[in-house]
Structures are given as C-alpha cells and as structure tokens.
C-alpha cells in the first residue's frame, strides 16, 4: 500500500473516532437532564416498575399535584418559586451594584496593596458554604434573620460580590480610560461619565456577571438549607428535600420541581450565552 493510502485510511479512522467520541460525550451530558424531564411526565407506578418499562406513558399528574397545592406531595411549589425569585433577583441586583463599584475601583484606580485586596476578596468567596453556615446560623439566630428573605439576600450578596468584582474588573479594564476622560471633557461629571459612557459599553459584561450571580443564588443549597425554616422563606433547592421521606423519594414530583427550577436558568443562560463566555475569559485572562 502506498503512503498516501495509509495516510488517507488513518485520517478516516481519526475522523470516525472523533465523531464517535463527541457523540458519546454529548450523550453523557444530555441524558441525565433529559431523564429528569422524561420522568417528570411519567406516572410513579411506571418509574418504580420492575422490570423497567421502556415505553414511557405521558401524564401531567406530577405537575398537577405540584401546582395543585396540597396534592400528593403537598409541596407549596408556588411559594418556593416566589421565594427563590425574590431572593435571587434582589440579591443579584444588589450584588451587581456593589460588585460593579468594586470592580470599577480595581480597574481604574491605583492604590497600595491592590493585589492583596483583590485576592483577599476572592478568598472570602472560597469559604465553603457549609463551614460558613454553622456560625452564620448562630449569628443570624441571635439577630433574628433566620427564616427571612432579607437574611438570605444578605448572604447571597456577600457570596456574589467577590466574583462580580472579578468579572466587572476585567470588563472595565477593556474599556480605554480615554472614554471616561473624553466624556468628562464633553461636560460630564464623573458620575455621568460612568453611567452614560462606561456602563453602557460594559453592559454585556455586567449582564454576564449578573447571570453568574443569579445562578449562584438560584441554585445555592448549603446555606439556604440552614437559614430557612418555613414555607415563607424556603427556596426551591431546599424545597426539593420535601419530596424525600425517611425511606422513599417521590421521584416523579421531584423531577417536576427540578424542571421548574432549571427552566428559568436555561432561558436566561441561552439569552446571554455569548457574553457569558466572553465575560469569563475577559475577566480572567486579560485581568
């Protein structure tokens, strides 16, 4: 066989392997999620069936039960959803405002020990939620913040500020400082220059930072599970536990709630997915 032929064959094999590998990986990524979605539409009997039923039947029972209030699980989904939304949106908004200020300070001002401040802030983010939840629980119990929206919002703001600072710092650094100067010369105050020029230019970066903050708050469990008690403040990740009893788990109901949890995150992420990647890389690499 001549060399051209060998090379051609080898390339064909590589191509097949490449395709097969990608296919496999995408399967592994997608199937667990799809499995959850699928099971949220299957009757419990079928989920629990042994031997397994491979032909799914379609039912809306779990959703009906979930939204029907005290149905089979009696999990107050609406309240959890509302709590999650209030806590996540508010904490994201506040974290973005505070984080943007910090990111701007790091991007635009020179001061002593800047790097130490920066790493220090990041270290606070690195404190494990579980480790923090123990003392935070006691402190919050003292000041009466347990089981309140406000308490959880406060915690999530503190959690999200460092990473927001990291991302926005990167984005503001991308903007030449001459833009700010030009705006000042054009008659803006520093405040106006920020809001009329720098903020609109960094908008996509800020949006991606907001998504990350939102996802963190929306999905957080370790702290929320300790700091919330009643249906008045429990968020959805904590609510998932309502489907577990001592020895059994209501899988169908849980899957339905899971779908409800993923949906907003999914939609939001897809809307800004381009900025999301740019946000991560700009913030980090060119920082």
């Amino acid at each position: 066989m001549d060399r051209n032929q060998t090379h051609r064959n080898r390339r064909r094999i590589y191509k097949a392997l490449h395709f097969f590998g990608l296919f496999l990986i995408m399967e592994v990524i997608c199937i667990p999620g799809l499995w959850i979605v699928l099971n949220s539409f299957r009757p419990t009997v079928e989920i629990m069936a042994k031997p397994p039923v491979w032909n799914p039947t379609f039912t809306l029972d779990h959703y009906r039960a979930m939204f029907g209030g005290a149905g089979e699980g009696g999990v107050p989904v609406f309240l959890y959803f509302r709590n999650s939304l209030i806590v996540s949106v508010t904490s994201t908004a506040i974290a973005i405002l505070i984080g943007m200020g910090g990111g701007y300070a790091f991007a635009r001002y020179r001061f002593a020990f800047k790097n130490s401040y920066f790493v220090g802030l990041m270290l606070f983010r690195a404190v494990p939620g579980v480790a923090l939840s123990l003392p935070l629980f006691i402190v919050f119990a003292r000041v009466g913040l347990i089981d309140t929206h406000f308490g959880l919002i406060l915690v999530y703001v503190a959690m999200n500020v460092p990473f927001t600072i990291w991302l926005t710092d990167g984005f503001f650094r991308q903007i030449p400082k001459e833009l700010h100067e030009a705006a000042e010369i054009d008659g803006c105050t520093r405040w106006q220059a920020f809001w009329r020029v720098e903020f609109p230019v960094a908008r996509s970066g800020v949006a991606s930072a907001a998504i990350f903050a939102f996802l963190t708050s929306w999905n957080e469990f370790a702290l929320a599970s300790q700091l919330t008690r009643s249906v008045g403040s429990k968020t959805m990740p904590v609510g998932l536990l309502d489907f577990t009893a001592e020895f059994t788990i209501n899988w169908g109901g849980m899957c339905a709630l899971a779908v409800l949890m993923i949906l907003p995150a999914l939609i939001l992420t897809f809307i800004v997915q381009k900025h999301l990647i740019a946000g991560l890389t700009f913030g980090g690499v060119k920082g």
Binding site: P176, A183, I185, D186, T189, V197, V201
Partner: protein
C-alpha cells in the same frame, strides 16, 4: 480672548517628578505644538491643562481664569485623543451631539451644530454609523468633529495622528491646519513627530525629561537650536555632529587632524582647548555642483561616499568625515557609486558649535 498661561507647573507621581516647573504663555488663537521624545512630559502637561491630571504645584489659567481645581467640564476645552476615544455604543451623530446633550441644549440647536460640524469635516454620509464601522481616518474626523461641536475656548490634541498610516497622516495634517485657519481657536497640540511640529505649529515647545528645552517658531528651532538635543531632534535627517577640539589658531580639529575654521557666530564664545561638537545639517554639506546657491564662507572637503539613498529630486549621501558617518544632500542628483570620492562644500555660516560637555550651543 483665550490665552492659556502656565506658571511653574509641576507634576509629581509620588517621589518621581514628571514635569519640572514649566512656564508658558500661549496667545489667543495660537497653534502651539508640544514636541519631544516619549516620556518627556508633554502629554502630562496637556492633560494637566485639560484637567485630567491634578497639578502638583504651580498655576494654570485659561482665559485669565485660574483653573487648577476645576474639573475638565468647567474649563470649556475639547480634546482629541490618540485613540480617538469615540463612544462605541453611539452613532457618529450621537457622538458629535453628546456634549450638547449633556449641556441640555435644545434639540434643534444640537442638530444644527452637529450638521455644521459634519459639513466642515465631510461626515454627512457617516452620521448613522457606529465607530466600529469607520476607518481610521474617518474616526479621526469624527473625533475632531466632536471637538468642534463643543465650541471650546481651547482645542487640545494628544498625538492625534500617530495611529494613522503615513499617507493619511499627511492628509489629516493639512485638514487640522485648515481647521485652525477656519475656526481660529487656540490649539495646543502634542506630538512626538518633529515633522508634524514643524508643519503645523505657530510656535514649538520642545521638551525633554519634564523640562522645556526651547520655545520658538519652527524656523527658529530649525536654524538656531539651543543645544545638541534640539539640533538632532528637529529636522530630518538629524543634524550631523562631529567631535572636535578648539585649537589656538581658531580652528576646530576633528579626528584625523582634519581642521575646520570656527564659524563666525561662535568665534567669540569658544576658548582654545575646549572640547566641542561641530553641527551641520545635510542641507549644508553638498557636493560641489549639486548644491543650492552657495553663499558665505565655504569649506572644501573631499569625502568618500559609502551609501546613497536616491529620493528623486535629491539624493542622500552617507559620507565618511574623519571616521564619522555624516549625511549630505545632493541636488539634481546623478548616480553615485559607493566608494566614489566627491568634492563637498560645507557652509560654515550655517554650521553650529556646541560645547561637548553640556551640549549647549555656542553662538552670539
């Protein structure tokens, strides 16, 4: 009337001093160019005038009003930046009108001012584009238009042409000069390019290391540089400098015992034994028969040509003068072979003598 006055202006960054007490009076309507190598403090000076940098010491006044602590927006200036600093999220129209919009001018007036500026700079067809869709030259124009719309007392330019290619740069240089003739405002212009400085300026301020080296009209700087730095920075090609020692006989002895009489202007200022540098431009060292009208004292030299650079109307000759490579100019050029020996005339009246130690020009 908008004079700009700097008196003893100092800029310190911590312990480092970037600008060392500058005094400068800029006339109303004057086109003043700050020129110098990078890091000489010219941009810092401009930014202090603009209010973008704090003034560590001294006083700046614009139109007889001390502006030391005024923010940029209250100085009624406008500035064109090196990278243009156009607002990327606004169209050209919005960029131009931004300053008036901030000042809360009525819509009709904004439109009129914007259209007028667009007309002056030929931007009419670009009004609805974003800066990212413009070429370098167009961005440059928009930046200038934005400056015009503001109707400032003083225009500040911070190396506005350095991001353009050579051809556009020449073109925009002309446009800036035209703009000045048309609006007649005071302009302070920073550049590191001596050609821009020469061609644009009413007056040039040459700076180095945070000090002013020389202030004067372009021709003053060209013809009577105060020291070797000014001599080599202004003019292209840079002035030739040859080391030598003043002899008892009133001549300067270069290497290889080549002697050249001390030029008339310097005679009263040199002492025998003084180490000096002889400075002359390529325009004043020309092959016999290929020179401009020769006047005054001439020195005959026979030099070997090592390399030629034909430029069309003239050829630059790189010749060997007592072991030193000097540049000479040949008008109405004929082909010259490397290694060819030519007779040259050095125009002594246009030759400068500098003190070798301090670099200061010795002339009366």
């Amino acid at each position: 009337m908008t004079e700009v006055t700097l008196s003893n202006v100092v800029k310190r960054y911590g312990k480092q001093q970037a600008v060392h007490g500058i005094d400068l009076d800029i006339q109303d309507g004057e086109f003043l160019v700050l020129v110098g190598p990078s890091g000489c403090g010219k941009s810092t000076t401009l930014r202090m005038i603009a209010g973008l940098e704090d003034i560590s010491d001294g006083e700046i006044s614009i139109g007889n009003r001390v502006v030391n602590d005024l923010p940029p927006r209250e100085r009624n200036i406008s500035m064109v930046f090196q990278n243009y600093a156009l607002y990327p999220h606004m169209t050209v129209r919005e960029n131009l009108g931004f300053t008036l919009q901030i000042a809360k001018q009525p819509e009709a007036q904004i439109t009129r001012a914007v259209n007028e500026a667009a007309g002056i700079l030929g931007l009419d067809e670009l009004m609805d584009r974003k800066p990212a869709e413009l070429s370098g030259g167009q961005r440059q124009r928009v930046a200038m238009g934005r400056a015009i719309v503001r109707q400032p007392d003083v225009f500040l330019f911070d190396e506005p042409l350095s991001n353009l290619d050579a051809k556009l740069r020449t073109q925009m240089r002309v446009e800036i000069k035209k703009l000045h003739q048309r609006v007649g405002n005071t302009i302070i212009y920073v550049t590191h390019d001596q050609v821009e400085a020469m061609t644009l300026a009413d007056r040039i301020v040459l700076m180095r290391d945070g000090h002013i080296v020389q202030v004067g009209t372009p021709l003053e700087l060209f013809n009577t540089p105060v020291n070797t730095f000014a001599a080599t920075f202004i003019g292209s090609p840079p002035m030739n400098l040859a080391d030598g020692v003043v002899s008892d006989a009133g001549t300067i002895v270069l290497r290889d015992s080549l002697t050249i009489p001390v030029p008339k202007s310097a005679r009263a200022h040199v002492k025998p034994g003084q180490k000096v540098q002889l400075g002359f431009r390529a325009d004043n060292l020309m092959p016999v028969g290929h020179a401009v009208e020769e006047k005054g004292e001439l020195v005959d030299l026979e030099l070997t040509v090592a390399l030629t650079e034909p430029l069309g109307t003239e050829t630059l000759l790189f010749a060997d003068l007592a072991g030193l490579e000097v540049q000479a100019k040949m008008l109405n050029p004929r082909p010259v072979q490397p290694g060819e020996k030519l007779a040259f005339h050095l125009m002594l009246d246009k030759t400068h003598v500098f003190d070798a130690a301090s670099g200061v020009a010795l002339r009366g």
